[in-house]
């Protein structure tokens, strides 16, 4: 009997730990999108595709140059931040300038990023084939307090935590970060008091793509990478934002953890095939109850 209780407790804790890893990964993925949508009003359908790109960058750097994925965090993040910056200058900025209102731009951004999804997915399928890619990195199992975690998941747990907290500190403490928060809360007022809106938008787009790419680096360490993984992660990022509220990194942490736990527990008790269905059901239910998201005024 005592054994039974302790094993049930162990199981519960193990599930919580797995949920924590997944939740922080989701929080990282969504936090960039949250700022991107909050500030620049870009409804990014390509968030998951940026994750896919980050995962591929990590995979190829590992395969070709035997580069440690932990270093790839910086590289994948920077490369995708540059992709984000070019997207901003080529697509979003001209579209914002021409749009009658930011609401009209939201529509446009949805179409533009959908085009981006097609370009990114099909380019990677053409370049690297549709076959799933994976590599083996830090697969040894660590145990502490009777719980088990593979090395790569431990890296994900700590890395995502550091990055999300770092992003929150950056938003709170620096000038650019404060300008971004102000733009999210009072876009017109921010313009009037002299916030450089253009730079804030650029910053939020770069952060949006970079966080997704870094999440992709972590993702590639323990999942398989293929060209068409993106849509699930795009929608998952939106679930997190709908749970946590737009424009808030802390909200993303809360939303990510809730979703990570729900998904882990759900998959354990139902079936791994329900992974996708669980996340989508959460999204639909929340929007049915609160059409504007859970924590919006």
């Amino acid at each position: 009997m005592g054994d039974y209780i302790s094993s049930t407790l162990d199981l519960a804790l193990q599930l919580v730990l797995s949920g924590l890893v997944l939740g922080l990964l989701y929080a990282l993925l969504a936090s960039g999108l949250s700022l991107l949508y909050g500030a620049a009003r870009v409804i990014n359908l390509a968030q998951g595709q940026a994750l896919m790109l980050g995962a591929y960058i990590t995979f190829w750097l590992f395969l070709l140059f035997n580069l440690n994925p932990i270093i790839s965090i910086v590289l994948a993040g920077s490369i995708c931040a540059l992709v984000g910056a070019s997207t901003y200058f080529i697509l979003f900025r001209p579209a914002i300038k021409r749009a009658e209102s930011m609401a009209a731009f939201e529509f446009t951004s949805l179409i533009l990023t959908f085009g981006l999804v097609l370009v990114l997915e099909n380019s990677s399928a053409l370049l690297w084939g549709a076959a799933p890619k994976t590599f083996s990195f830090m697969t040894e199992i660590y145990s502490f307090f009777g719980l088990y975690l593979t090395g790569n998941r431990l890296v994900t747990l700590l890395g995502s935590l550091i990055l999300v907290v770092g992003l929150q500190l950056f938003i709170r403490k620096t000038r650019t970060g404060k300008a971004t928060t102000y733009t999210i809360e009072e876009s017109d007022a921010a313009r009037i008091v002299g916030v450089n809106i253009d730079r804030t938008f650029l910053f939020s787009v770069m952060i949006g793509f970079a966080t997704a790419a870094v999440a992709g680096t972590f993702y590639s360490m323990f999942y398989v990478t293929s060209p068409f993984i993106g849509t699930f992660y795009t929608l998952t990022a939106w679930v997190v934002i709908i749970l946590g509220g737009v424009g808030s990194v802390v909200g993303c942490i809360v939303g990510g953890l809730i979703l990570g736990m729900l998904e882990t527990v759900g998959v354990f008790f139902l079936s791994p095939a329900m992974k996708v269905a669980i996340n989508y059901t959460v999204l639909i239910i929340i929007l049915f109850i609160r059409p504007r998201g859970l924590f919006t005024r």
Binding site: Y37, N122, A277, I284
Partner: protein, 312 residues
Amino acid sequence: MSSLEPWRNIVLACVVIAPLLSLVPSVAPAFVLFLVSVLTFVVLTQAWNIMTGYCGYFFLGGATFYGIGAYIMALSPYLPYHLNILLAGSISAACAFALGIPFLRIRGPYFAIATFTSGELVKNVVYYLEHELARTTGRYLASQEISLVYYTILGIAIAATLVSYGVRNSKFGLGLFSIKENEDAAESTGVNTTLYKLYAFSLCAFFTGATGAAVVARFGYIDAWVAFDSTYSMYPVVMGFFGGAGTVMGPILGAAILRSIFEVFFGGRDPYPFGIALGVLIIVSRMLLPLGLTGIKSSLSRFSKRTALARS
């Protein structure tokens, strides 16, 4: 709201082109399959246009109703083909009416995300039910003559176009446009926005579901991945905006042109270069022609005005 489209375009489309198209199976049977594919997307885009082009709700869930229609066709094999299509359309419309009550409270981008997610969710749940619980994948259904499918889908396309025209020029259509402009203002001026949105949503679902039922008879086999393919959610959006959202001719032009490009250059071949080309086309057309093909005139005049201003 832009000016009403002249009758002659619609008359031209329905009275001149439609009889010509109806000759195709006897004159040029090689084109029938191609035209079925084009007409399918004409209907889907026309249906999408009622919800998004007229009512302003960014609808991204065509696959949900297309799949429901397809499954109704597969699940009731003993009904006559056309009755089955009618049933599929009606059930889709009923589903839309019921689902619309919670869905249509969602405004802005979340509506797009929620409707897209619903299609993906239904796909996964149907797959789970079939594969994990019933231990089957997909099902066979009575396949129909291709020419019968062709005439049917042509009929649905004409009906959808006429309905779209009718809606656009009615009080109902005016109500939908006012919802698109400003929903709260529409409500306060006496438009029953809830009911109008539900009607538009049901109409959209009716045609989408009927198309799913009509077209799936061509394949003879369906599973969740085929029936609820997200293509049916995504492409109508692309085609609608490419042709011109909120007009009657726009969806026809957009679907016909884009689907023809697909069929001619990439049908059955490596799909990836086409995917890239389509993505680029979407982006470029949105940047250069924000109003779509039917808005080409006003886009051009706006452009020339701007350059004239820049010169002066």
